[in-house]
């Protein structure tokens, strides 16, 4: 995915959820959008049911104690 402010490419986690009985069941997660889309195609052909996609961009977290930069998807 692209950063809105800079237009640069940033890493993101793509999660696919099945919606059943008012609950979300995580079916697949990847950092590659193409893989996520391929999974969606396969899942729809196999189960005839759509999926909800959520995108979690990578976040830079600075650990003040360790003085280290860590990257997370949450």
């Amino acid at each position: 995915m692209l950063d809105i402010k800079t237009g640069e490419k940033i890493e993101a986690l793509y999660k696919m959820f099945q919606i059943k009985g008012g609950k979300r069941i995580e079916k697949f997660q990847t950092t590659d959008m193409k893989r996520a889309l391929n999974f969606h195609k396969w899942y729809v052909n196999r189960y005839k049911e759509g999926l909800l996609m959520e995108i979690f961009p990578q976040k830079k977290v600075y650990d003040w104690k360790e003085k280290k930069v860590e990257y997370t998807f949450e």
Partner: protein, 406 residues
Amino acid sequence: MSIQKYIALIDCDSFFVSCERIINPELSTLPLSVVSGERGCVISRSKEAKILGVPMGIPLFQAVERYPECIYLSANHYAYTLISNRIMNLLKEFSPNVEVYSIDEAFVDFTGLTKLYKKNYYSLAKELQAKILQEVGVPVSIGVSRSKTLAKLASDKAKSTRDRICLVGKCKTEEFLSSTDIQEIWGIGRKLGVKLKGLGVRNALDYVKKDDIWIKSRFGKNGLTIKSELLGNIVSKISNEIELPKSLSDSKSFLEFTSDLNFLKNELSIHIHEVCSRLRKINSKTSTIGVFLKTKDFRTYYEKYSIDVPTDFEFEVSKYAFQLLEKMYSSNILYRSVGIVLEDFNSTKKEQLLLFDNDEKREQKENLGKSLDKLEKKFGRNIVRTGFVNKDVPFRQGFLTSPKDV
């Protein structure tokens, strides 16, 4: 003789979907729908999704069963606001008089711009459309006419044209009105439309031809305003002044139904913090605090409380909000959402100080509020949790729309 005014309505096409496609260009040719939340409905559809037949407002659980080929994406309103601001700034550079009507719509005063840019109205609209597409990446439809109501109708018609621009001048107005169904008019809803059709008014031209006394006796002053606007006389002017909102609210459904009071309080604190920071942005303070609770079976409880000293500070608001929540709360009911409503705003510039108030404390609170906003601006939303009851109780909301997410 006064100059004939010309107003343009700029309407972004499938705005939320267009924004998602800017952020994720891989989605550009796929059928795509944006969903309001986990338990939400479809709020925006791409052209491809419209061809599949996905209706607007369909609940997600039904949509995934009926139209599985479509990709359903969770909405990221923070990103949409950023993109909308960029479009509005472009419009403000183009014309001095711009009224932001909603997140994806704005009225632009075109009067006099033909002389400034040395172009006709159609070319102006074309240039603006190309500029927005090139600089932001969002396709827009533009309707240009002599009043807001006509511009709104023209922009609706523009969506079905090839170049997505519709210009309704003085000569074309009658022909345009005769082809416009009465229910399409801005301000005439389904019920009023049916009533008008029953009275023999089928299109906009029939409405305009009716006598003023006939309209006023049946539909009041608003009916006359619509008629005047349809005839090309501007009644509601474009105002680029930002008015204070009448109320501010924030709420979101839980992922799972709950009756845990601590969880409710934590979720309410997130909403309180959100509205308070919005309140500080518009330099206002609230004097009425309301809390609502929605149960699993969609019953809504609402309680409000008026405070003597207006505030924009989280801890002050949460003190009263938690009391209201506890008053409505019952441990044997499952809840689906909790929310906060703030009303009665006073501008901080015109604030009346109290005779026996502690100025030092008040300043400390104000500074703390400002510091919270600064921290959020620098490190992202929810970096500081205000008024949290219990850290062990999970909280999952707010992360999706953090500035760091965009």
